[in-house]
């Protein structure tokens, strides 16, 4: 990069000096050319500089995010529940968003700002479905994340995660930054022991180690510091029992956060207790199916007999057929199949994929108008 610049400079200066002694158009032309050359040189320099100090860009992005992160200290510290966590500022009035965790069971939650100031935060609202809580501290004019500028990304995107995992950062030290890649985007279905994670919406599954004590409530951003998601709890996948590193996209949380800040309350939890299925409670018999007895923990959904003249009979289902998919979802056991049937309503379609020897056969039932 040095070579051409020196060359242009030398040549231009040489020629300008020789032509400056001329008059008129020639002089103007030379000066114009010199100005253009100088301009291009500067451009080239700027471009060169930005390439050489690429590290500076990410540093700026990280600083930008760090100024909006807070460290939380609250209830916990026994057994496996950490007494510390992370949050991020979401309004100019000191509202902080974080995961609605055991941390907030304390009467007071200590909030440590990026400049090291320690304040007490009080809870102003929660959304149990989204698993978030909003705290407020008495501070104004703090830098905050504008949720309307949040970004979204897909699998393979490089990301940065910010959190105070293991409470490594103390006092006014900035929270920890780690890097990773978005592994997948899917709906969350997870638990920890007997505790079922309440949020079941879309999440980013991360190829990054964010599933650590203290990371809940941290943020996930792009490499240039744009907010993507909030880091989630330490939970295991329902499907294969592995610990998940996940983050909830801001697009899912934004409305909830803004409503809480604005004081708009709306009930998200059902008024009635218990898990009453939404549908009308159909059974296999309503379609003419008699299934094998449900004896083991995961009894496969084998058909024992088919009622003569019923829908199932007309569809051509036979004894020993194995029902594998119902409405696109795998049914690993009779228990799961019963749950699917219970949530059907009259007029719905019930699409079954059935295995007979080595063939898969698809049949679609019409859910009858009324139960027997």
């Amino acid at each position: 990069m040095i070579g051409p610049r020196v060359c242009i400079l030398w040549v231009s200066v040489h020629q300008v000096l020789t032509s400056l002694s001329r008059k008129g158009l020639c002089r103007k032309f030379s000066i114009g050319l010199l100005v253009v050359c100088a301009g291009l040189l500067c451009c080239g320099s700027v471009q060169a500089q930005s390439a050489d100090i690429h590290g500076e860009d990410i540093h700026d992005a990280i600083q930008h995010v760090q100024q909006r992160m807070v460290k939380l200290y609250g209830a916990g510290g026994l057994k496996n529940l950490a007494g510390y966590g992370t949050g991020f500022l979401v309004s100019p009035d000191g509202h902080i968003a974080t995961v609605w965790s055991h941390l907030l069971d304390a009467d007071t939650v200590a909030v440590v700002l990026p400049d090291g100031r320690r304040m007490f935060g009080r809870m102003v609202g929660t959304d149990s479905k989204k698993d978030i809580a909003i705290l407020k501290i008495d501070a104004v004019d703090l830098p905050y994340f504008d949720l309307s500028h949040a970004a979204s990304a897909g699998p393979g995107a490089s990301v940065l995660a910010f959190s105070n995992m293991f409470k490594v950062a103390v006092g006014d030290e900035p929270v920890t930054v780690t890097h990773g890649v978005i592994s997948a985007k899917t709906d969350l279905s997870a638990r920890r022991g007997r505790y079922q994670a309440p949020y079941t919406g879309p999440v980013y599954i991360l190829d990054a180690v964010t599933n650590n004590p203290g990371a809940e409530g941290g943020v996930l951003t792009t490499y240039d510091g744009k907010l993507l998601a909030m880091l989630g709890r330490q939970v295991r996948s329902d499907q294969n029992n592995v610990w998940l590193n996940y983050a909830v996209p801001i697009s899912e949380l934004r409305t909830g956060i803004e409503d809480i800040i604005a004081g708009r309350l709306h009930r998200t939890d059902p008024l009635t207790a218990g898990t009453k299925p939404a549908g009308d409670g159909f059974k296999g018999l309503d379609f003419g199916l008699v299934l094998v007895p449900d004896v083991v923990f995961r009894t496969p959904v084998y058909i024992e007999t088919v009622v003569e003249g019923s829908q199932a009979d007309k569809m051509g289902l036979k004894p020993d057929d194995l029902i594998v998919f119902a409405n696109g979802e795998l049914v690993p056991s009779i228990r799961n199949f019963e749950i699917v049937l219970q949530s059907l309503s009259p007029g719905d379609d019930l699409q079954l994929v059935v295995r007979r020897e080595s063939e898969l056969i698809s049949v679609t039932f019409q859910v009858p108008r009324q139960k027997r």
Binding site: Q15, L322, R355
Partner: protein, 680 residues
């Protein structure tokens, strides 16, 4: 060069042919044009090296492009039915992943996905077509399973040849368990090649049930290998799963899988290949591959390999040390033909053998003596014979009580452990030449060894301990203890006649769930402990529901605690389980083969498959069962199963169930068994 640039005379002529108004300047026109030209060249040169694009973005795009190239070959596998617990691991119900390996419907995946023994397997392609799949065959060495679906337009992945593998190259681990549209990805590098004895490459991309059975690809979208859980230390079904997401992941190279694909398609189950040879193991820094044992009827035996041969070449690869041999043979299958070169004395012999999948269980030889546990007089070396068991090879050879065995063959022995090691190197029907000292005379006797009998001695004189001048400082009698840091609490009984100049047996009593039965145990065992030199250890489970698998390590800690404070004989450590605690006791005994010599089961049949007889770790079983109890048949079957594997196993039959926790007769028989646990 600059001088030439200044002389653009042809241009000058062209230039002057232009109309006057268009000429930018006068006499120095050529100079202006020259400047312009130079400027143009320089700018182009300057901008030719582009401002460095956002490196991060480029990497991201490269990853996404590689994933897109491999996408069509990654399929989702779902299973229906099956058990929910394999060993101690909960099996998931979620989907798993597979890799298309041939376009006519063959899909390879990890065997991990079928441990639950499902009743039905369904494969879903990225284009959402679903197929019923049948399991064709498994590779038990690399934990892979081959499936077949009825499709003939599948897209297999291109395999990367091994010559292109580089430690440090980028890898992407793909699975299809979260979303059907996009594979889930994890990014890393190749950490090492030829891991797990040559079977797999190692990556630090996250591997877990989320991508077991999926593909590990490089940045060109070609497949390096298929992701499986493996462990260099264990061989079980779930070995290596505990390392998920740890930064240590394994993938079996696709080129290796393609090499054995015809055998799998022909429904052959591939198993690790065994030679039937035992080597002197000096640990990780191993010496030459010198043969220590040859298993009878094994491929090595049939090929004519003898003890003390040194293996120097395997399949034209030189073998300088034992680890080289393990790496070369460790990746081979049963049925593979191996060409060996062994050095015997001054010659090098070539041998060929076909590896097998199963060897005859190792059989311990039996001499028939009990070593004296009292210390020898100063200046003496050897093993003093405490008792010669009746009708044993030693008895027939003329060995008598009080003899001091000093040499076996040409090797001098200084302890009972060394005597055992030397005897165990001899075949169960070969001869042992003993050199012993009796009343100032040196005698040489030859004993023809027999296979180790199952029946323990029916009666045994108690050992008279040589008294020691200074009594011990250690705690004796019954006492309670608790290990720090959430360790187990336990009670122990150290006989009052404990002295430090001999070593004592240790009986680890694992009480059945609910009741620690401390008082009854003390009452039944304290006398025999004093007589037979046994320390009784009673860990407490703490939970009323019984013992948890996580407590295995804690019990081991308690034993270590005792070993630190008391002189425990490593040849006489046994664990006892009763009814509900039987399965925990047996799992503990099989897990810590280097600790436990014996297992006592009281009315508790074996529920886990027994291990293989190991020449380095002798092991004996004794069971007590009431003839009229419902488990009696199972207890008999347990003893039979262990005997079949060449373990000495014995059943004490009681006429009916004992009212008390321990019956006096059973306890005295067990005590004799414990006293004789170190018989050689």
């Amino acid at each position: 060069m600059m001088a030439n640039f200044m002389n653009l005379s042809p241009c000058r002529d062209k230039f002057f042919s232009l109309p006057a108004a268009m000429r930018p300047c006068c006499a120095t026109t050529t100079a202006c044009w020259r400047m312009l030209l130079l400027w143009l060249i320089a700018v182009l040169w300057g901008t030719g090296s582009l401002p460095a694009a956002d490196l991060q973005l480029e990497q991201q795009l490269a990853i996404q492009k590689a994933v897109a190239a491999a996408d069509a070959s990654i399929v989702r596998i779902e299973t229906v039915g099956g058990v929910d617990l394999v060993g101690e691991m909960l099996t998931g119900t979620g989907p798993t992943t597979g890799v298309v390996v041939r376009e006519d419907g063959y899909v390879i995946t990890s065997r991990f996905n079928f441990l639950s023994n499902p009743s039905s397997v369904v494969v879903t392609l990225p284009d959402e077509r679903k197929f019923a799949a049948e399991i064709v065959a498994s590779d038990m060495s690399r934990m892979l399973t081959l499936l077949k679906i009825k499709a003939d337009d599948l897209v297999p992945l291109t395999a990367v040849p091994k010559s292109e593998f580089r430690v440090g190259q980028s890898t992407i681990a793909l699975g299809r368990t979260f979303d059907l549209k996009f594979p889930n990805i994890s990014v890393g590098i190749v950490s090492a090649l030829d891991r797990v004895w040559g079977r797999a490459l190692q990556t630090d991309a996250k591997t877990s049930p989320v991508n077991y059975g999926g593909a590990l690809i490089d940045l060109t979208g070609r497949c390096l290998g298929v992701i499986v859980p493996l462990s260099p230390q264990e061989q079980g079904e779930t070995a290596g799963v505990e390392w998920y997401d740890s930064g240590i992941g394994f993938a079996v190279p696709l080129v290796d899988i393609e090499a054995v694909l015809p055998r799998l398609i022909a429904k052959e189950t591939l198993k690790p290949g065994l030679m039937g040879v035992g080597f002197e193991d000096h640990g990780p820094i191993s010496g030459a591959a010198k043969v220590l044992r040859v298993r009878p009827e094994s491929p090595a035996d049939r090929a004519g390999i003898l003890v003390n041969d040194v293996v120097v070449e395997v399949n034209a690869h030189p073998v300088a040390k034992l680890n080289d041999l393990k790496h070369l043979v460790g990746s081979m299958y049963a049925g593979d033909v191996v060409q060996l070169s062994v050095r015997r004395d001054a010659e090098t012999l070539r041998k060929e053998m076909t590896l097998t999948d199963v060897l005859n269980a190792y059989q311990f030889p039996f001499l028939g003596i009990l070593p004296d546990r009292n210390p020898l007089e100063s200046g003496r070396q050897g093993v003093r014979v405490r008792t010669v068991l009746p009708d044993s090879p030693a008895a027939k050879a003329g060995v008598k009580t009080g003899d001091l065995i000093q040499k076996v063959g040409e090797t001098e022995i200084a302890s009972a452990a060394e005597l055992a090691t030397q005897i165990h190197r001899i075949e169960p029907d070969a001869e042992a030449v003993l050199s012993l000292q009796r009343d100032q005379q040196i005698l040489t006797l030859t004993a023809k060894l027999i296979p180790f009998p199952s029946e323990p001695p029916s009666s045994l004189e108690r050992l008279d301990l040589v008294p020691v001048e200074t009594p011990t400082q250690a705690k004796t009698g019954r006492f309670n203890e608790k290990l720090p840091d959430d360790g187990l609490s336990f009670w122990a009984y150290v006989p009052e006649n404990y002295q430090t100049n001999t070593r004592w047996g240790l009986l680890v009593w694992l009480h059945p769930p609910g009741d620690t039965q401390e008082a009854e145990s003390m009452q039944a065992w304290s006398d025999v402990c004093r007589e037979r030199g046994i320390i009784l250890l009673g860990p407490r489970a703490g939970d009323v529901s019984g013992w948890a698998p996580s407590q295995e390590a804690q019990v081991r800690e308690v034993i270590s605690w005792m070993q630190d404070r008391y002189q425990i004989d490593p040849a006489r450590i046994a664990v006892m389980g009763k009814e509900g605690s039987g399965s925990f006791a047996s799992r503990l005994a099989f897990k810590y083969r280097d600790v436990f010599r014996g297992l006592i089961l009281l009315s508790a049949p074996l529920r886990t498959p027994p291990p293989d007889s190991d020449p380095d770790f002798p092991f004996q079983l004794i069971c007590v069962s009431a003839a009229n109890s419902p488990q009696h048949k199972l207890m008999t079957a347990t003893v039979e199963a262990m005997r079949k594997r060449n373990f000495p196993a014995w059943l004490i039959e009681r006429p009916k169930a004992d009212e008390s926790v321990f019956s006096a007769e059973a306890v005295s028989s067990l005590a004799i068994w414990l006293d004789a646990l170190d018989r050689i």
